[in-house]
Structures are given as structure tokens and as C-alpha cells.
Symmetry: C2
Subunit: 206 residues, 2 copies
DNA sequence: ACCTGAACACCGTTCAAGT
DNA sequence: ACCTGAACACCGTTCAAGT
């Protein structure tokens, strides 16, 4: 639909003089996919467009990924690594209950800062792929473990069922708030600043 | 990808003898879209496939909807009407706090029973369309009003900010639980029965 | 007024062929 | 081993033409 595009084909390689054939195309494709994701959202994530951005033919992608979904799963796995790091950094500075609340705020902040990546990470396609993709499974399991550990520190004497119940409640709360914000459900009700809202909801008074 | 399909074109009309030209194609398209949504999920919702299922050429759709997104918004608006009815029915039988909890369980149950429709209703496309589509806006505002009313009945003396805070917390909790369930994030942690989990999380002990 | 047929610019996937 | 070119079966959208 009238999208202006450079006429330089894959042949020319454009401004990046690098010739592939060195195993770095995989990383280049992931970078291109992440840029496209941030720019155009999940629906604009066409395999052919990613290949064009990386300077190769679309068929070349299939030498590094089984199909479009496998590429997207790899992007999601990368996202989970950064996500876990962000949660850890937020909890690091504070002790006990405050650390747990800061993790929640960091959760919502990550979603607000990387909406399309967040949707991809927690989308149904990624969950389906967790069975097949070990990297994705490990990355997302790490985030879940951090949650469980946080609850255990809050409730050291609680039994396992209680810990699980509290963990799912906390996760549902931050995930739901993130989803509602991202999908614009809370817009128009004068709640522009996402982080301020997250603090009010997660750490405010009853 | 090897999808078997009937060879009968739009011309023959298939088993439904009805000839359109009577203004019922709009409804027929919405029915076909809802069936396709339940069967194949959001990604399989191709405008051309919907038109085929309704027995017309794909171009005919554009006489009733501006584009693919407008059709999907109409499906979402229908969904919100059924959703509001389900919430109201769940709250109707019980008083006070119990009614509020039953609304929450009904929220998660609706999501579990109509996953693709739920995702469409609360997806970013639908939220974007709320500005343009009055029917969709009214339908989704009705559900939000029911939530606010429920909180007010729980906290009759609370000021408006407190009501809003509680409403967003409750909404985030049920929405997040629904999203995590739908996207398979809680799978594999032996939580098969969605309604039982919803009751445990929303009405269980601390 | 309502629908069709053909066209356009895209997709994801496959596969023989080149280096 | 890695990439290209061409093909196939799909998309959404537009528009002149038919009834």
C-alpha cells in the first residue's frame, strides 16, 4: 500500500559492506526482526521484509530458521533474557516487600517500553513454541522462578500451595495491568503515565 | 498448505439456497467470521475465507464493511454484548461481595470458552477502532460501567479515586489471569481446569 | 443498490540451481 | 554450506463492469 522502498536489491548489500557466508546472518536477521517489531508491531513482522532489511533474499531465511514462527520464537527468547535482567535489577536494590513491588513496577515498565516484544513473548504462538524451543522455554522459566522466589521471601513459612496462589495472583495483576495498558483499554480515562499508574495500582493505599 | 476445500465457487451458493441482495449478507458475514474465529483463531481470519464461507466473492465484503478491520470490529462489538450479558447473569443471583467474585469468575470463564473472540475484543486493533466505531465503544463501555458499579456497591463510602483504584486492580487481576490461561502460560503447571483455578485465585484464602 | 472478475502489490514456503 | 531465482498458493484492496 504505497510503502516507499529502496530499489537496492539483496545483491548490492547496501551500506553494510559485510558479506555473509560467515554465520552472522542469523544474528543479523534477529536484529532486523527486533527493529521491525519495535517500528511496526507484530502484524508488520513479515519474513520477507525482515530478509530485505538484512540484505538477503527471503529464501535465505530458511537456512537459519525452520519457518517464520521459529524466527519469532528466537526473538521472544532474546526478549525474555532482557526481561529477566530488568526484573532482577529492579528487585536488587530493595529488601523484602519493597523488592517485590519494584519487580511488579519493572514488569509493567518493560511492557510499556517494548509493547510489541512483550506481546510476542507472552503471545499464544510463543507459548505453543515453548514445547519445541528449549531456549525459549529456559528463558521464560527463569522469569517464573524469580517470581516464585520473590513470593517465598515474602512468606517464608507458607506452604507450597499458598506460595503458588500468591504467585499467580501477583503475576495476573501485573500481567493484566500491562495488557490493559498496551491494548489501550485504560486510555481516555486520563491515565497517560504508565509507570505512575503502575505505582498507584501496585503500591498505593487500599 | 494442503487445506482441502470445496470446489463449489460463490456462484453456486452451495446448500443455502438464499440469494442475498436483501441486506442479510452483512449478518451472514458476521456469522461466518465468528465461526472461523472459533475454529481457526485470530490469525486464520482471512477476509477472503470469510467471503467464501458466506458464499460470495471477496470483493462483495467491501459493500458492507470498509475493510477487514471494520468487519473484525463488528464481531468484537457483538462479543462485548454477549460478554456484558454473561457478567450480569453471574452477578444477578448473589449479593455484595459474592456477586463481585462471581463476575470475576464469569470473566475468566468467558475468556476460556471464547478464547479467540476474547483476544479480538481486548486486542489492540479493537481498542484503536473504539474511536471510530460507536457500536464497539458503547458495548465495551457498558462492561466497564458494570465493573465500576460493582466496586461502588462493595465500597459505598469510598471516594472516586479509591473506587477507580479498586476497579483497575480487580480488572487487571481477572484480565491477567484470563490472558495467562489463554496464552498457555500457566499450562504444564498442572492447572488444567480453568474455572477451578479462577475460583481458587479469586475467591480462595490468602 | 449490490455483486462479480480481473488486476495489483503483497505474503509464507518450497526447491532446483548456482558458488 | 550458504544463498538465489522462480514458482505456488495464498492474502487485502481497488475498480470497472454487469444485473
Amino acid at each position: 500500500m504505497g510503502v516507499r522502498r529502496e530499489v537496492t536489491g539483496p545483491r548490492t548489500g547496501g551500506r553494510r559492506g559485510a558479506t555473509y557466508h560467515h554465520g552472522n546472518l542469523r544474528e543479523a536477521l534477529l536484529d532486523a526482526a527486533e527493529r521491525a517489531l519495535a517500528r511496526e508491531g507484530t502484524e508488520g513482522l513479515a519474513l520477507r521484509a525482515i530478509a530485505r532489511a538484512a540484505g538477503v533474499t527471503h529464501a535465505a531465511v530458511y537456512h537459519h530458521f525452520a519457518d517464520r514462527e521459529a524466527l519469532l520464537r528466537a526473538v521472544a527468547a532474546r526478549g525474555f533474557e532482557r526481561f529477566a535482567a530488568a526484573l532482577g535489577a529492579a528487585a536488587g536494590g530493595a529488601p523484602g516487600e519493597q523488592a517485590f513491588q519494584e519487580m511488579g513496577v519493572a514488569y509493567v515498565r518493560f511492557a510499556a517500553e517494548h509493547p510489541a516484544l512483550f506481546r510476542l513473548m507472552f503471545g499464544a504462538e510463543a507459548a505453543r513454541g515453548r514445547g519445541a524451543d528449549a531456549g525459549l522455554r529456559e528463558a521464560s522459566d527463569a522469569a517464573y522462578s524469580a517470581l516464585i522466589q520473590g513470593v517465598r521471601r515474602l512468606l517464608p513459612t507458607a506452604d507450597e500451595a499458598t506460595v503458588r496462589r500468591h504467585a499467580i495472583r501477583a503475576w495476573s495483576l501485573v500481567h493484566g495491568l500491562s495488557a490493559l495498558l498496551l491494548d489501550g483499554q485504560l486510555a481516555g480515562r486520563r491515565l497517560a503515565d504508565h509507570e505512575a499508574l503502575a505505582r498507584e495500582i501496585l503500591t498505593g493505599p487500599g
